[in-house]
Symmetry: C2
Subunit: 202 residues, 2 copies
């Protein structure tokens, strides 16, 4: 089956976003990352910042956020927690974007959401801890937490969120069509491999 859409799941700091951007550029197709957040924000009524922070992290669902959101948009959320409501909107936005044509979608459990589309290639990008720690400091700067702690926290939140909504173990090869170690293969080469597997007319 020809592949027109690609989902890229990634470990924090692995360069998965950059690889997705390169793939989109090389193929001349839309790249959904920040744009995805804006779409979801628009559909859900949440602030983009809120969507960005909670869309792929552990299901918030605290009593406070639930009550708060429920009061803000009465009736709209049908009694769902904010996290579940956000998940539903996320699914619906990603399914709609895929209908529009070839594209690259980074993160947001899109591999699971689009698992039944045979025209979609699912990729996972991971890298050694050293590579990722170095990369996040270069890209996002230092913080009061060590890079190792930041990696561990972010990975854990993505893992919990993924398992909660998909029932799958995050990072298992079997969830993806291809998994690549960007610290071994290099960001450019990872992008080239993925481009070679796509069937998009340039």
């Amino acid at each position: 089956m020809e592949k027109k859409i690609i989902t890229i799941s990634r470990e924090f700091g692995s360069g998965g976003r950059t690889i997705g951007h390169l793939v989109a550029e090389k193929l001349g197709i839309p790249f959904y990352d920040k744009e995805l957040v804006e779409h979801i924000a628009l559909e859900s009524g949440f602030a983009p910042k809120y969507v960005e922070e909670h869309g792929e992290h552990s299901p918030g669902g605290s009593i406070f956020s639930y009550a708060f959101a429920h009061q803000s948009v009465p009736g709209v959320m049908n009694g769902l927690s904010t996290a579940d409501f956000l998940w539903n909107v996320q699914c619906s936005v990603i399914l709609q974007l895929a209908e529009k044509g070839p594209c690259v979608i980074v993160g947001r459990n899109a591999d699971y959401i689009l698992k039944d589309r045979e025209d979609t290639l699912h990729a996972f990008i991971h890298a050694s801890k050293e590579f990722r720690a170095d990369r996040i400091v270069r890209l996002y700067g230092e913080s009061e937490k060590s890079p190792e702690t930041r990696l561990a926290e972010k990975d854990k939140r993505r893992k919990v969120n993924y398992h909660h909504y998909t029932g799958r173990t995050w990072g298992m090869s079997q969830n993806y069509d291809i998994s690549l170690d960007s610290s071994v293969l290099g960001v450019e080469q990872c992008a080239d491999i993925l481009v070679s597997l796509m069937n998009v007319e340039k």
Copy 2:
């Protein structure tokens, strides 16, 4: 770092062995699968059939096999269970073969045994259950057990063995440099991708 050696770990029925064979053929380098069994048999004194059945399966270590082997080769096994003795020989043979030069090694936890060699690429091949079930019936024929049961049993034994000797979870992307779904990408294309990542002079 240039890659001269490739280890191929695989789900039963995924075509990983065939892919390894193709890679070796295309690169003109030795392919160690059955040959590996013979080397290990020679070094350990076990029959090739025994090595083949126990080398990547759950650590046997039954009281019977321990006592039996211990009596047969007194002193040789240094009080190790047959499974642990076999593991030690396997490690030593694989490390020696890698020293000899470029090659393809299929299975036998070689990804872990050669994890510190930077000139080695570690690949994992997996595939959908339908693809694997169909493939094992075509290649190995029917048996009284259903193909699904045969897959589940073999996968479980490899998984337990891998975890026992490496402390890792079998099939996690992070254990490998590249993981490929042969039922999506095709056996030929998987081999081509792997060949393109190697730096062996033809």
